[in-house]
């Protein structure tokens, strides 16, 4: 349908639209050209890093479980002990300590003259109050209750003395209040009034009263934390060097990398292997790998039991056979998993404790070490009586059914999916049919606790004190008969292991304790119930032109650096005087402006053409 029009020489609409287009382009240009701040742009020097991708659940240190929260407390609340750069305990609030002859009483000397950020003095009473709150208040025990389970009493006879009495001798006492992994000490005069509503207290009155290298001055939910330096802070002869610290949340690691490239971020340690490889050759960045502090493993259900020994769950009984589990272990090529899934950026699995803490590391002896050997796996299965059926799947000699095993994997983990595909192929080669069960995290944990599984993908991080990770394999973590209370991950319950566990808990000599821990790892290795696949390295990139003091210690033969405690990473990082980075940004901005102008010109032209076309009708 054509509609006739009167001809008119001018069209007010056109001018209006032109004006709008020009205005629009102007706004666009203004938005694009806001200078992206680089390190050092605001008052004083600023260190911008990315928050752990788990984020912050709450800033209340009695409740928080998320890494983002724990790392925050490491900087803003003091602890009795520090972990030095080698992850060994040293003095922080406590300058020295002694134990009684029966090893049940610990007396800490608390440093005097320190002040909370509001000017009040820090005394032993603050520490005693914090400990007692956790020990007596269920809510306050939410996050750290387990760390004081063996503590009988905590008292502060005077301002500089703290006395902790334990129920049993406890060798790892110096680890229970350390930054990031232990109990943060909070100012009593602030927190006393919050005990009543502790459960809903978010601790978001800024600046947060505390003590540490930095003070938390702002937190915007899901976005960023801002810290100001505590100029008076000194520990081990060091002080923090940056005036401001910004911890920004990046829920997507590609976004963090983009920010790193454009100098909005100075340091990022959450890279995945593809990103690491892509950034290796970036001239403005330096990349390096830190030895891992956690592992990824396949758990095997060799018979789930409750604490009283009652069998539970639907686990495949074939896996109770030692030879079958050993065969599975031989059928898995851990080196290939490390190479494929991690892109070689990690260490293949051996002992139960990760290489990031060399003091606990254990290697299997040459004759007990298991390496990829499908022939051996096949012969083990043959001798166990599992003959191959016509379709290549082995037959269970008791049930005469094909040997089919379920593997539970986390639905949100692409690594699990990759690993499970590899495992499926290898186990098929030795005649085991692996069925994949994709489960949400809570469903998987739920199945685990009930024993309703054959094999599971699992991963655990650990702090420098291995006690908790080791405790997961003790009989005490099995579920009760009513199904509650379980904390196990493979239903391991070995009296020898438990004996060693009890022994290392009160072995105060570090070398001796490490030996016992080694024997425990030996037991686990031979049991083939936790097949540790690999320890992923921490993959780090930072801006060469902005930072110094990032790595410490020496790289090992593979070029992997030791794992550095978060506290010291923040303390050691120092600004490089730099001006270079702004130049290429300007180029980008100019390029961006040119693009915008071109688009604008195009739009204007188009509008004009069309408007004359209107008139031609």
């Amino acid at each position: 349908m054509r509609v006739g029009t009167g001809t008119r020489p001018t069209r007010p609409g056109l001018r209006r639209r032109l004006a709008a287009a020009v205005l629009g382009c102007g706004v666009a240009a203004a938005i694009v050209s806001i200078p992206t701040p680089s390190v050092g742009a605001s008052s004083g020097s600023t260190f911008t890093i990315a928050m752990d991708d788990s984020g912050i659940d709450t800033l209340n240190p009695f409740l928080s479980y998320f890494e983002g929260g724990l790392k925050t407390f490491a900087l803003i609340y003091p602890t009795l002990n520090i972990l030095d750069e080698d992850n060994k305990p040293g003095p922080y609030l406590a300058t020295s300590w002694t134990t009684s002859p029966d090893q049940l009483t610990w007396t800490y000397k608390i440093q005097s003259g320190l002040k909370w950020s509001d000017g009040q003095p820090i005394t032993a009473e603050d520490a005693a109050w914090t400990f007692n709150l956790i020990m007596t208040n269920n809510i306050a025990a939410t996050a750290n209750g387990a760390l004081v389970a063996n503590v009988a009493s905590v008292t502060a006879p005077d301002a500089t003395t703290l006395v902790i009495k334990t129920k049993q001798p406890q060798a790892n006492m110096l680890y229970i209040s350390v930054p990031h992994w232990g109990i943060p000490i909070v100012p009593k005069h602030i927190w006393e009034s919050h005990v009543a509503g502790l459960k809903d207290y978010k601790n978001d009155t800024f600046p947060v009263v505390g003590y540490g290298p930095y003070t938390l001055v702002n937190y915007t939910t899901d976005q960023y934390e801002k810290f100001a330096v505590n100029k008076d802070f000194k520990l081990g002869g060091k002080s923090p060097t940056f005036d401001n610290l910004v911890v920004q949340e990046f829920k997507n690691s590609d976004a963090a990398v983009a920010a790193l490239k454009s100098n909005q971020l100075a340091y990022y340690d959450g890279l995945n292997s593809n990103q690491f490889n892509a950034l290796k050759n970036d001239s403005s960045l330096r990349t390096f790998q830190e030895l891992g502090t956690g592992w990824t493993a396949v758990e095997i259900n060799a018979g789930a039991k409750t604490r009283t020994g009652k069998p539970i769950g639907t686990g495949n009984p074939a896996l109770a056979n030692d030879q079958v589990r050993e065969a599975i272990s031989y059928a898995i090529d851990k080196k290939k998993i490390t190479a494929n899934v991690l892109g070689g950026l990690g260490v293949s699995g051996e002992g139960y404790l990760p290489p990031g803490y060399p003091q606990w590391q254990w290697h299997p002896s040459a004759d007990e070490a298991v390496s990829y050997n499908p022939a051996k796996a096949n012969s083990l299965l043959d001798s166990a009586g599992y003959a191959k059926g016509p379709d290549g799947v082995r037959i269970d000699p008791r049930t005469h059914k094909p040997l089919s095993i379920r593997l539970g994997i986390h639905s949100d983990s692409s690594r699990d999916a990759q690993i499970s595909a590899l495992l499926q192929g290898w186990l098929k080669d030795v005649g085991i049919d692996l069925k994949l069960d994709t489960l949400s995290m809570s469903k998987l944990n739920d199945n685990l606790a009930k024993g309703d599984w054959d094999m599971l993908m699992d991963s655990w991080p650990t702090g420098p004190d291995p006690t908790y990770l080791l405790s997961i394999q003790t009989c005490g973590t099995l579920p009760k008969d009513d199904g509650t209370g379980g904390n196990t991950d493979a239903f391991v319950c070995d009296p020898n292991y438990d004996k060693l566990f009890a022994q290392q808990v009160n072995t105060f000599d570090a070398t001796q304790r490490a030996q016992l821990v080694g024997q425990m790892q030996d037991i686990l290795y031979k049991a083939n119930r936790d097949l540790i696949l690999y320890y992923p390295n921490g993959l780090v990139a930072y801006r060469k032109d902005a930072l110094t003091g990032i790595t410490s210690g020496k790289a090992d033969a593979n070029g992997f650096y030791p794992s550095k405690p978060y506290f010291w990473f923040v303390m050691d990082a120092a600004p490089l005087s730099q001006k270079a980075s702004s130049s290429h940004r300007t180029t980008y901005l100019v390029a961006g402006a040119v693009v915008v102008v071109l688009i604008a010109a195009g739009a204007v032209l188009l509008l004009r053409r069309r408007s004359t076309a209107d008139e031609r009708e």
């Binding site: 983009a258 593809n274 494929n340 639905s411 949100d412 499926q424 290898w426 994709t438």
Partner: protein, 314 residues
């Protein structure tokens, strides 16, 4: 045709609320002639022909895929390609993070994506038409209750509903399929109800009723054949939105990470650093595949709609 389709993402850009549907051919023409006329009308619309061609090509590709794609291309233990490598003579669309050919994955992914789309649509159509027919035919309390339930479901935002459903049902394509069906049957139901009302008002239904036909006879013999064309049109468009929903839900982590679909390819591309590696071949391929297939279904559906309902063609 029409209906605010309760698509998971957003309603499809079709038409205004339901009343428009109440137009049907005035009498029952002989079926064969009607079919011939339909084909002739359809062939006159190039966009519709293009849509059918696209769908045919993808369907063939998906069906014959097992002939030339197998574990050698898909099993990460068997493949030996470079990781995240750009397109080359050997890997026409590059490789993924495990060294698999992205082209092979995209072709294989068509199977999962299309089957979820088609099965979810079948469920949607069965559920929607049943409720629509019942609500249209039984206009007493049953119809009222059914329409209230439908209205209530329309008010629920579909993606959050699908997310909650899959979270409760567990992971995997089965629960995604159910979630899609549960969130998209409402528009079919409304459409079918409106059409049923229109058909039942026509003389031949009255005649059948006067001759003593039972309720089920009327619904199955008289109403259903006349509502069918409309159901088919609406289902073509439902497949399009079901495929989009499948991709979205899989991307949000509700799919099965071990199976290959276009959504899961995009999920791994996004979570495994393809953006930083500037692996455009990995990001573009599955997305473009979704785009083309959805476009194919939409073009086909719109063309069918235009032919069946000539008032639209202006």
């Amino acid at each position: 045709m029409t209906g605010t389709q309760a698509d998971i993402r957003h309603p499809r850009p079709s038409q205004l609320p339901a009343s428009g549907a109440v137009r049907a051919e005035s009498a029952k023409p002989p079926p064969f002639n009607a079919f011939r006329r339909f084909v002739r009308g359809f062939l006159a619309r190039p966009s519709g022909v293009a849509g059918v061609a696209i769908l045919f090509a993808f369907a063939v590709l998906a069906l014959v895929a097992p002939a030339f794609i197998g574990p050698a291309q898909l099993d990460v233990t068997k493949v030996s390609g470079p990781l995240l490598a750009p397109p080359s003579a050997h890997y026409l669309l590059g490789t993924d993070e495990s060294g698999r050919s992205v082209l092979a994955l995209a072709i294989w992914g068509a199977r999962a994506s299309l089957s979820v789309g088609v099965i979810a649509t079948a469920l949607t159509v069965i559920l929607g038409s049943t409720i629509g027919l019942l609500a249209g035919h039984y206009q007493g309390w049953l119809g009222a209750v059914l329409m209230h339930v439908t209205d209530w479901f329309i008010a629920l935002p579909s993606l959050p509903l699908a997310i909650s459903l899959s979270a409760v049902l567990g992971q995997g394509s089965a629960s995604i399929t159910i979630a899609i069906a549960v969130t998209s049957w409402t528009s079919t139901a409304r459409l079918v109800r409106a059409q049923t009302l229109a058909v039942e008002a026509r003389p031949f239904v009255e005649r059948a009723r006067a001759l003593g036909a039972s309720n089920s006879q009327i619904v199955v013999r008289q109403v259903l054949p006349n509502v069918m064309p409309l159901i088919l049109v609406s289902s073509t468009l439902t497949v399009a939105s079901a495929i989009l929903s499948e991709a979205t839900l899989t991307f949000l982590g509700l799919g099965d990470p071990t199976s290959v679909s276009w959504g899961s390819m995009l999920d791994s591309a996004f979570s495994r650093g393809a953006v930083t590696a500037e692996a455009w071949w990995y990001l573009l391929t599955p997305g473009v595949a979704i785009l083309i297939v959805v476009l194919g279904f939409t073009l086909t559906g719109r063309a069918v709609e235009h032919v069946l309902n000539p008032r639209m063609v202006k």
